[in-house]
């Protein structure tokens, strides 16, 4: 059996209790929600926390609430199944429902949470391996070693952000709410993700994510998510593309966001693509220009499955498909 290392387990029943436990035990303690990422990583000895603070019993953080003025609020413990099936998410934020439904497998979506999904550890072929494998190679910088095996001269780790919801949440302009023993704060999700695979989130060890809030869709907003992976189940994305566009009454694009994931340690927002789209109707030409911009911005490295040239070429293809899906999406009837 592939066993978990020993730890003490403390179940928290409120966010306040969770963060006071995290503060009491210091950096040796980690929060855990569904455990679908953390337990697998602990089995590979990527983490050996002395204490786990279980967030699952916190009933207050399991909600999904929509309001036309304040938008969508997702409790950190809402499961991926809840989000994929939620009528308000499907109606107002279809790309988010699509992304949640494409994650892993039904069993994992029943357990995995949105809070855990945005805090998903960054991934790399040299890192997501068992202890013997990593030891045989004398480890890598992200865990127990000195150099990056993918980019040996790099001062930072380039492991990829592999969350399917992260690029979608960023394209929708979501804000992340955090609680710590000293209070609460919120920040745009784009600032929550940092550009180093070893320190990929602006989260202090005694903070937890409590909710994620997305503004209500403005006017005729349409969205779509496309995911590239080797198998149509189980697999993490080797590319994710989220597209959100807003059209005016005449069909002209007035706002656009295109965000890539699994090509870098944090989601990559392609602002040049937005410039190619805004100001005219969505057409094969403007979508093609935006997809070219995505192709230039997506720079995959050799740390996931499939080759770099293939993944790079697919950035254009998947950006185009995501934008076509969004253009074709049924407008919201109010």
């Amino acid at each position: 059996m592939l066993r978990l290392p020993p730890f003490e387990y403390h179940a928290a029943t409120s966010a306040e209790e969770a963060v006071s436990l995290l503060a009491r035990f210091g950096p040796d303690a980690l929060p855990v929600s569904g455990g679908t990422d953390l337990y697998a990583n602990m089995k590979q000895r990527l983490f050996t926390p002395k204490v786990l603070v279980g967030l699952r019993p916190i009933a207050d953080l399991q909600f999904i609430a929509y309001n036309a003025v304040t938008g969508l609020a997702l409790g950190a413990l809402a499961t991926l199944t809840d989000i994929a099936d939620s009528p308000v998410v499907r109606k107002y934020y279809p790309a988010l429902a699509q992304a949640a439904a494409l994650i892993s497998t039904p069993q994992l979506r029943n357990t995995g949470t949105i809070g855990g999904n945005i805090c998903l550890d960054t991934r790399c072929n040299y890192y997501n391996q068992n202890l013997d494998w990593r030891k045989a190679l004398n480890y890598c910088m992200k865990k127990d070693g000195d150099i990056c095996r993918v980019a040996p001269g790099s001062p930072k780790c380039v492991a990829v952000n592999s969350s399917d919801t992260a690029p979608v949440l960023q394209a929708f302009g979501a804000r992340v709410h955090l609680t710590s023993p000293t209070g609460t704060r919120e920040l745009p999700i784009a600032e929550f993700f940092l550009d180093d695979g070893m320190f990929a989130w602006a989260r202090r060890h005694d903070e937890i994510v409590t909710k994620i809030v997305i503004p209500p869709p403005a006017g005729d907003t349409r969205s779509a998510y496309r995911k590239l992976r080797l198998r149509n189940s189980f697999d993490f994305p080797i590319l994710g593309v989220a597209a959100v566009v807003q059209l005016d009454g005449a069909g002209k694009c007035v706002a656009a966001k295109l965000v890539l994931n699994a090509v870098s340690s944090r989601p990559v927002e392609v602002s040049e693509a937005a410039r190619a789209l805004v100001g005219s109707a969505l057409s094969p030409e403007t979508i093609g220009d935006a997809a070219d911009a995505a192709f230039r911005a997506g720079r995959p490295l050799d740390n996931t499955s499939a080759t770099i040239p293939y993944r790079k070429r697919m950035v254009r293809v998947f950006a185009q498909r995501a934008l076509e899906d969004a253009a074709r999406a049924v407008p919201l009837a109010d």
Binding site: Y9, A40, S104, T105, Q107
Partner: protein
């Protein structure tokens, strides 16, 4: 140096019975079922979330027992493959799998059955696509899936006609 954390004494609700057991906090539900409770019908495959062999039903939802702690399962209704047949009578999903040749080596079968039973409870009239989606978290290296999907469709028809 460090002392191993104390064992937890707990009652788990498994297949409708209360089972008293003692386990360390780092034990998964899979390990406790197989090693402490003696229910070895739930299989261990990858133990990393990659195969679905360890699927059990917790509070009506299929989940992976290899990535769930036993301590997290206290207070929840756990169902395993041992609880699927009633009074010696196979569940229609089990019978259909046997009749259609949906089990070859059989290692994936308990997990497949748990996913299928949960699917049919939630959605009594699934389309073929719904069945494929419902089973998309269970790997089978033998059958090629076709017979399994047919078996679940047959079981769903049988369950509906029995209503």
């Amino acid at each position: 140096m460090s002392i191993a954390p104390a064992k937890i004494l707990a009652s788990l609700s498994i297949n409708g019975s209360v089972v008293e057991c003692a386990f360390n906090p780092n034990k998964t539900l899979l390990e406790v079922l197989r090693e402490d409770v003696g229910l070895t019908g739930t299989k261990h495959g990858c133990e990393m979330g990659h195969c679905g062999a360890c699927t059990v039903i917790v509070d009506d939802l299929p989940v992976l027992s290899c990535l769930t702690l036993a301590v997290e399962s206290i207070g929840h209704e756990i169902r395993t493959i041992e609880g699927v047949a009633r009074d010696g009578v196979l569940h229609p999903v089990q019978r259909a799998l046997a009749e259609s040749g949906g089990a070859q080596c059989g290692y994936c079968t308990p997990g497949i059955i748990m996913s299928a039973v949960a699917l049919l409870e939630q959605n009594p009239a699934p389309t073929r696509e719904d069945v494929a989606q419902g089973l998309s978290g269970n790997l089978c290296r033998c059958t090629g899936y076709t017979k399994i999907i047919e078996a679940v469709e047959n079981a769903s028809a049988e369950l509906r006609s029995a209503r």
